[in-house]
Symmetry: C2
Subunit: 237 residues, 2 copies
DNA sequence: CATAATGCTAAACGATCGTTCAACCTCCGC
DNA sequence: GCGGAGGTTGAACGATCGTTTAGCATTATG
């Protein structure tokens, strides 16, 4: 009896069944387009009962948000050893475990609710930990702004899910299909390994351009001034 | 008399004024949350006139979509010389020119309308041209799947705009503010230059893992088999 | 057994929405 | 000057929505 991420709708409390129906419909059509009557019908109850249990549609949404955020926070990873493929395996495990909720979570990140904010902050924090470890053990490159790097990497991580439709159209199959994930993995990893630019000409030029119009950065002596210049690029100029 | 991207609402046709009001409100609150009455009020007309000019709210949305897509397609770049900073300058010029429409365009990319599809395809196509040129002149690294790379880079380009709220929260200021753009530029460019991973250990391991479970890839002789292994990384294994 | 509480239904209310309609005004061609 | 066409208004219609309410079972409690 292993725990499924989506239990059969029959052995649930009526309250939980309404919540599951709401999450499904909110994920499919969004909050505004989903009516209380549609939720009630999917849950097999009357519209009045939805109000009886949750008070209002907005409160129902908040409860769904919090339920999913809590579920996501307390998820347990596959405890793969700290090998190289751990990160990817965890990421794939996450999207496999939360497959029915991907659309809901994506909408959360976009609709400006508190749950979406907490979710994104969680992603950024976890990414930050991963990057800190990677830099510590030498497997990752540092950045001139590690907070910003963490935010960007987290953003790039959720971007394929948030823009699932467009990316799926471009791929010819749904992003969460195994074939699509397989096809995406290598190019992304190549990008994260080799970078896009063959040399640092663009980086150097931009760095100089920014410094030229910098609003008083050189006046602060405490800050680090020369940015990180590791890696083996350097054909520019 | 330079052309502003947003003309004063007074010297416009009533039809155009309704369209401008719709774009503004759709961008702020989305299509579902914006009522015809609100559009009419913002345009200074009666709700009936909106229907008289556009037939229905859905038709009005389609016209707004097509108007913006057409405007975006026919935009002219700043014709910066083919130097290194051209790409960034064009990108910054775009978001500066379309600043009032960023939210609307972002919603288009997400709401599954035809206009959003055309917009994303346009981004991917332009990115593909940029990458083709970069690879041709040696300034960019090739990928094992150049189509996929183009899609990913395009996706990563619009991601900060689509997730404007979350990124803005993380930055402490709006993404389109000069300070935010300034702060984002270098870390992104570093990521695109040096990559995130310091060596190709993760890439090699994933490549092998994918090949082990590959559904009949080695049986096709026509395909290229060994992926690109340029760049100067290679400390792995 | 009586009673209160709980889970639940069906109907209705009030608000809002997209849309329609009849009428009015204005301007232009004849 | 006259008539018609198009721009415009404001009211009203019908549908849908979130929510409320009254009532009905069922169950637990004294």
């Amino acid at each position: 009896m292993n725990m499924r991420s989506v239990p059969s709708p029959d052995d649930l409390t009526t309250r939980a069944r309404i919540r599951e129906a709401s999450i499904a419909l909110f994920g499919e059509g969004g909050f505004a387009h989903t009516s209380v009557r549609a939720i009630a019908e999917r849950a097999g109850v009357s519209p009045g009962l939805v109000m009886h249990h949750f008070g209002s549609k907005a409160a129902l949404r908040i409860e769904c948000d919090e339920y999913l955020v809590e579920t996501f926070v307390s998820r347990k990873s596959d405890v793969a050893g700290p090998g190289a493929a751990q990160t990817i395996r965890e990421w794939l495990g996450d999207i496999d475990q939360f497959r029915p909720f991907v659309d809901y979570l994506s909408r959360m990140l976009l609709d400006g609710t508190e749950g979406g904010d907490r979710l994104f902050d969680l992603f950024v924090a976890e990414t930050r930990v991963m990057i800190d470890r990677g830099i510590a053990d030498g497997s990752m490159n540092d950045s001139s702004d590690r907070d910003m790097l963490s935010t960007i990497v987290a953003l790039y991580g959720v971007a394929p899910l948030v823009m699932r439709r467009q990316l799926g159209r471009s791929l010819g199959s749904d992003v969460l299909d195994a074939s699509a994930l397989r096809r995406m993995t290598l190019p992304i990893l190549e990008l994260y390994t080799n970078g896009l630019y063959a040399d640092d000409a663009m980086l150097v030029a931009t760095r100089e351009a920014l410094a030229a119009t910098d609003p008083g950065a050189r006046s602060r002596p405490g800050e680090y001034d020369d940015t990180v210049t590791d890696s083996t690029k350097g054909a520019g100029r």
